[in-house]
Every structure is written in C-alpha cells, then in structure tokens.
C-alpha cells in the first residue's frame, strides 16, 4: 500500500477512526497497530507476512534469552543476527550471488545455472525487508549492550517492529526510541495534530508533485541511455535525479513522521537538508540519518571506529560504506556507489579537511558545491544506472563536455519547472524564510490548503517510492 494511494487514504481513515478508542490501553493499542500493520503489509503480498513475524518472533525470544541467560547472551545475539542476515541473503541477495557464481564458472567455460535452482518464491524481494530486519536487529543488539529495556510482551514488540508508518521504507527506528513511547499513555493535542497534518502534506507534496514530476525526465533519459550523449543533458538529468531521490525518500520519511505524530509518537528526523552539507561526513549526518547512524553505531563503532589508528579507521570506513552500498541493493552498482563515498570520506580525512579552511562564506559555499555536491551527483550515477557499463557510459558523457543539443525544449519542460521549484523551496523558502516553521497558524493553514490543491492538480504520474525496492 503506497502512502500516495487511495487505498491508503481509506486505510488511514479506518485506522484513525478506531485509534481514539484503543489508544488509552496498551494491549488494545498494540493489538490495533499489529492488525492494521499486517493489513498494510499484506496488501502488497500477504505471503511475506510470515517472514516479518518469523524474524520478529526470533528476535523477541532471543531478546528474552539474552536477559534470562546473561552468560550465553553472545550466543543468543548471534542467533538473532544470523536469522536476520540469512533472511536478507536468501530473499535479497540469493539471485545476485547465484548469478555471480554462474558468471564465475562461465569464465572457465563451465556452464552451471545456480540461479535456476533457487526457488522462485525467494527471488521475489519482500517489500521493506532491509528496513524491518534492521529495526528488529537493533532491538537485540541494544538489549545485549544494555541500552534498552525489553518489550513488555510479544504484542508490544510487534507493535514496535510492524508499526506501519516506518515498516516498508523506514526510517529505521531504534527500540530504545519507540518501545517506551508505545507504553506511555498517548496524549495527542491540537499542536501535535496540526504539526502532523502539516508535515504529512509537506511530505506528500515532495513525493507526488516534486519527485513524481521530476521522475518523468529522469526515467525518460535512463530508458534510452544509448540515445543520449549530450553532456548538458546528462548533467541536468543527474541533477534531477539527485533531487528526485531526495524528494521521494524525504517525502516518504516526512509522511511517516507525520502519521506517527498523529498517533502521538515521535520519529527522529531522517533528512536534514543534505545538499547543504559542508563535508562528506556532514552529508552522511544529514542523508538517511537513521541508516547512517545505524551503520555508525552497529558497524563502524563495533569495528573500532577511529580509535585504532589511521589505517584501521579507513578500513572501518570502507567496510561500513561498502556494507551500506550492498544494503541498498543486490547489484555491483550499489557496491561502487558505497565505495565512491568511502573514497570521498577517506580523501576528505587525509587531505581536504586539513588544508582547506575557508572562512569567506560565498567562497566556502562555492567550494562546497564543487567539492561535495558534484562528487555526490557523480556517485548517484551508479545508484541509478542499471549496470556498471551504463554508469560508466553516463560518466563518460558527463565529462566529455560535448554540448551538441539545444536545451531549450528540455529547460522549458514540466520536470525542469518542478525541479527549479523544488530547489527554490529547499534553498530559499524553507531555508531562508523557514516557511514550514512559521508561527502564524493562519499562514500555515493557507499553506497546507495551497499544497493540497497543488497535490491534487499538479501531481506527477504515480511512481512507486524509490526506497521500496530496498
């Protein structure tokens, strides 16, 4: 079920229709969240509900055993991690790994098809598997580290794991942040409701108007990669994609936060204007914050972080970024994307950070643009391309500085118009004038109504959220 679909509107009406009746008692509240989240997830493919509940049940019980048998807690943690990672490997990576092995054998003229041995069912990627397994793992790891309290019962645990706003495309939430909120009596006042509505609409606008309209240009260009070689066209396309993916995913996260807010639950911010970043490290503190912090806390720091010397720090960084790349998808393009960011971060640590300390603000902004934004844009090429060859072809086009075509038609296209509006929103209206945080409720109400009208009349062709595929 997509947030931007009619069934979701009906679903939401049903959920909030009953919510005031159940929200005061923990058991009824958790049960209602679990049931409705099962409907929300099952709407896509009910068969995969078993996976959600199976991995969830393993984590709940291993969590219990971690506390009950502290001497064997390492074993229970590994059992939990293995189950989650194995389900990811089977359902997300088995097809990819099999084709790598097949191709490896093929180079020695041995033709074996491991891929054809894999059951077809496991080749379907369950929506949101990367998100809910990570949510679930955070619970057992935090219990192991003594950083969170256990769930009161299995219903409480599943309410946290399956809570529909974050279930299929994040943000990845931590047990310590949510479990407690779910036990507290929920008091939603007008301030929270108005804020929730406001950010829901803002998220919908980002997704349905900005991202979906921009997607037309990007999809058209990427559907006919070989037919386009003009550098300017590709720079515009990659700029468009950078903002499409931002508005798409930030839109989803914002809607999720808004819905959670309407339930009286607070989700942390998942994006904080990442294209304003003044360093690559800062970019990752602003982009998909819930995933970055997950990898930082559970992988990078677990590996030793920056405590074991320069070389080891860089090794840890590379491992973390490569894992982050693979997390996004079973394709070498994501591995290269992760590797590129690791490279950027390594270079930043060794050279740029030490030499370029610029105090002049306009010069600094310009430097940030060329040194941070452009490399990020180049890395997005690997993220969006269907394979490595396609990505390299695009990069070749970008840097061939071959400007053949007249861009007049492209520049007056609908997609470019919304791209400009999106960038203006991001850089001027919401950064300089803080429109979304304006104090006047009348102004905010008018803004919401205006955005609703824009969503209705200027929505782009319906596209699935990009992060659903992860």
């Amino acid at each position: 079920m997509l947030f931007n679909s009619l069934p979701f509107l009906a679903f939401l009406a049903l959920f909030f229709g009953i919510w005031p009746l159940v929200k005061h008692k923990n058991t009824s509240k958790w049960l209602w969240i679990c049931c409705m989240s099962a409907v929300f997830y099952g709407w896509w493919d009910w068969r995969f509900l078993f996976l959600l509940f199976f991995t969830g049940a393993i984590d709940y019980f291993t969590g219990k055993f971690i506390l009950k048998f502290p001497r064997q807690k390492k074993f229970w943690l590994w059992l939990s991690l293995t189950t989650n990672l194995l389900s990811l490997v089977i359902f997300k990576y088995s097809g990819w790994l099999a084709s790598i092995i097949d191709n490896g054998f093929a180079t020695f003229n041995i033709h074996i098809s491991f891929k054809s041995w894999i059951p077809e069912f496991t080749l379907i990627l369950p929506v949101g598997i990367s998100f809910y397994t990570f949510n679930s793992m955070s619970y057992t790891i935090d219990l192991y580290r003594g950083k969170t309290k256990p769930a009161e019962n299995i219903l409480h645990f599943f309410a946290f794991i399956s809570f529909f706003p974050h279930l299929v495309a994040g943000p990845i939430i931590r047990a310590k942040d949510i479990l407690q909120q779910l036990t507290k009596p929920i008091q939603t006042n007008s301030v929270q409701i108005f804020h929730g509505i406001r950010i829901c609409i803002w998220g919908l606008f980002q997704k349905m108007v900005l991202a979906d309209n921009i997607a037309v240009l990007v999809n058209d260009q990427f559907n006919h990669v070989g037919e386009h070689s003009d550098s300017a066209q590709w720079w515009i396309c990659m700029l468009a994609f950078a903002f499409q993916i931002y508005f798409d995913f930030n839109g989803y996260s914002t809607i999720a936060r808004g819905i959670a807010k309407l339930c009286g639950i607070h989700f942390r911010l998942n994006f904080n204007q990442p294209y304003f970043a003044h360093s690559f490290q800062n970019f990752w503190q602003r982009w998909h914050i819930s995933l970055s912090s997950f990898f930082r806390d559970y992988v990078y720091i677990s590996l030793g972080g920056n405590r074991k010397g320069r070389l080891r720090t860089n090794l840890n960084l590379w491992i973390t970024m490569l894992l982050s790349g693979i997390w996004h998808g079973a394709n070498f393009t994501f591995v290269v994307w992760g590797a590129l960011h690791a490279l950027y971060l390594s270079i930043e640590r060794f050279i740029i950070k030490q030499r370029l300390i610029i105090n002049n603000k306009p010069v600094k902004t310009l430097f940030n643009f060329f040194l941070i934004f452009i490399p990020v844009l180049v890395a997005w090429t690997f993220f969006r391309a269907k394979d490595i060859h396609e990505a390299f072809y695009i990069i070749q086009c970008l840097f061939s500085f071959n400007f053949e075509l007249s861009l007049k038609e492209l520049l007056i296209s609908n997609a470019v118009f919304w791209l400009i509006i999106g960038i203006a929103n991001e850089y001027i209206l919401f950064n300089k004038f803080k429109l979304i945080h304006s104090k006047s409720p009348i102004f905010q109400a008018v803004l919401i109504c205006f955005l609703i009208a824009l969503i209705i009349y200027f929505r782009g062709p319906e596209q699935q959220f990009i992060y659903f595929q992860f």
Partner: protein, 301 residues
C-alpha cells in the same frame, strides 16, 4: 499558559485548514483550463478494457488505429451483434493478444474476429505488446479501484505545464473514452503530417518480421478451423502515410495470403477519411469506417 495559547492557535489552524481546503480546490478547479481529456478516466477505461468479462459476438483487434478508429457501437447497431474493440497502443498481432481477445467471444454467439492490418503490427517491437502486457500486470486490487473509484474522480485531472500552455493556445487533443473500448479522438489543430517522421524513425529502429506474419497466418487458419470467422482490413490513414506504408509493406500479397488462410479481406477505400495526425482517424471518420465495416460483415453473412 503559553502551551494553552499554542493549543488554541493550532486548533484555529486545523479549523481553517478543514474549511479552506475545499475552497482552495474549487478555486484551482475553476482557474485552471478545462482539459480535453481526463487521464483518470483513461486509467478507468483501460482497466475496464483489460478486465472486461462481458461476452461479445464480434471482437475487433489491433493497435491504436483500431481503438481510435472503430466504434463498436455502430457495428453492433448495423449487424445486430454485440461488438467490442480490443485495440491497444503499439499492439502486435501475436498469439498472446489474439487469444486474450478471443476470450471475449461468446461461444454461443457469432464468433467473429476482425483484424486491423498495419505494417507496425508485425514488427519485432510491436510483438512485445508492452501496453497490453503492462495492463495485464496490474493487480486485481488496482483494477478494482480504477474501474470502480476512478470514474468518480474524473474532475481531478493532473496538469502539466505543456497542457496548460496548449489550453491557452487553444490547442487540444480530445480523447473521449467510450463504451466497449473505443476512444473518440480529434486534435485541434490537426496536422496530417505529424506522425510521418516518428513513423520513419520507428521503422529505422525495428523491422517487419516475416515470422510474425507467418505465425499470424497460421493462427488465422487455426481460428477458421475452430469456427471463428476472421475478417481483416487495411486501416485508412492520410495519403502520405498510406504511400509510405505501401513502400514498406506489401498489402496485396498479404491480402492474398490471408484469404488463402481462410480470412475474408474487407477492402476499404483509402480516401474519404480524415486523420488528425496522419495515422489516426478523427472521430467522425472512425464512425464512417465503422459503418463500412458493419455493412461488410452484415453483407458477408
């Protein structure tokens, strides 16, 4: 105290939002130009077409020239037989499309299949039948929503800049989705040369497949042997387009092969029809062609 005033202000905000939203939607609705066709109703139309469970006596199969060029209602009236239009964009006349179309035939009815013959229907590109297959992939839940909810949302079209610009320039592409798979279409201003260049480009990318043609002819033989009467005709287009098509496809030879496979060829005069882009017929011409087809089917029987 401060918290109370924030709660009060937020309550005012919520009330204003609830009251102002319908007004804002209404204002946008009246300020924006009327679009000549509704994309929501289009979605409903295609959902209806791909999941239509009604049974018919006559099914007309082909590409966009068919769904814009044949009005089944007129054929139904003339032949007194229930007729459906089974045309899809860039359709190729291959077994997947044809068997799916034949499922619409009433086994106790007249069992007539009418094929619109165009050169592009036998290309490798068309054999992918992307439009038809993309509609087939839509889930049952989505089809239900499109068929049952979308017809009530026809007024909430989404606008693009080019559409607004066209509307202000009094340019329009009228597409009225009608019953049984027909889209009554015309363009203002019309340009009978508009499709020529894209058609030439299309045949640079792809070629007519001999295999597709022989598979089609084999299928016709099979259908005839099963008691399904097959008719075929060349869809009229503008004169320059007809000349271009005659150069890339030998209609005369194909007609002879079709007739020897058992089908009946309906000769349609290539003049006397208006096309708004050189490839697709205007609504009135579509009605005229449908009358000729109806008469031919009636007279054959």
């Amino acid at each position: 105290m401060i918290e109370n005033s924030r709660i009060k202000l937020s309550r005012i905000g919520i009330i204003i939002t609830i009251l102002l939203t319908p007004i804002m939607i209404f204002l946008f609705g009246i300020c924006l130009p009327k679009l000549p066709s509704s994309n929501i109703l289009h979605d409903a139309f295609w959902a209806d077409k791909i999941s239509n469970s009604k049974k018919y006596d006559i099914v007309v199969i082909g590409d966009s020239r068919i769904y814009r060029g044949i009005n089944p209602l007129i054929i139904s009236q003339i032949t007194a037989s229930k007729t459906v239009n089974y045309g899809f964009s860039a359709a190729g006349l291959d077994s997947s499309l044809i068997y799916s179309a034949l499922e619409q035939l009433d086994t106790n009815g007249k069992k007539i299949a009418v094929f619109g013959i165009t050169p592009s229907a036998f290309t490798q590109e068309a054999s992918k039948n992307e439009h038809f297959k993309s509609l087939k992939r839509i889930s049952d839940k989505d089809l239900w929503i499109r068929k049952n909810i979308y017809p009530f949302l026809g007024g909430f079209n989404s606008y693009s800049l080019s559409e607004i610009k066209k509307a202000f320039n009094h340019e329009a592409y009228y597409q009225d989705c009608q019953a049984d798979g027909f889209i009554y279409s015309y363009k203002v201003p019309s340009d009978s040369m508009a499709a020529i260049n894209s058609y030439i480009d299309y045949f640079k990318r792809t070629s007519i497949s001999e295999l597709q043609q022989s598979n089609f002819l084999d299928l016709i033989k099979k259908l005839e042997s099963k008691g399904i009467k097959c008719f075929a005709f060349r869809v009229p287009v503008s004169l320059p387009m007809a000349t271009l098509e005659s150069k890339i496809f030998d209609f005369e030879t194909f007609k002879i092969k079709l007739e020897s496979a058992g089908a009946h060829w309906i000769s349609i005069p290539q003049n006397g029809f208006n096309s708004y882009d050189g490839s697709h017929l205007t609504g009135p011409s579509a009605n005229k062609l449908s009358r000729i087809l109806g008469d031919s089917i009636l007279n054959y029987h």
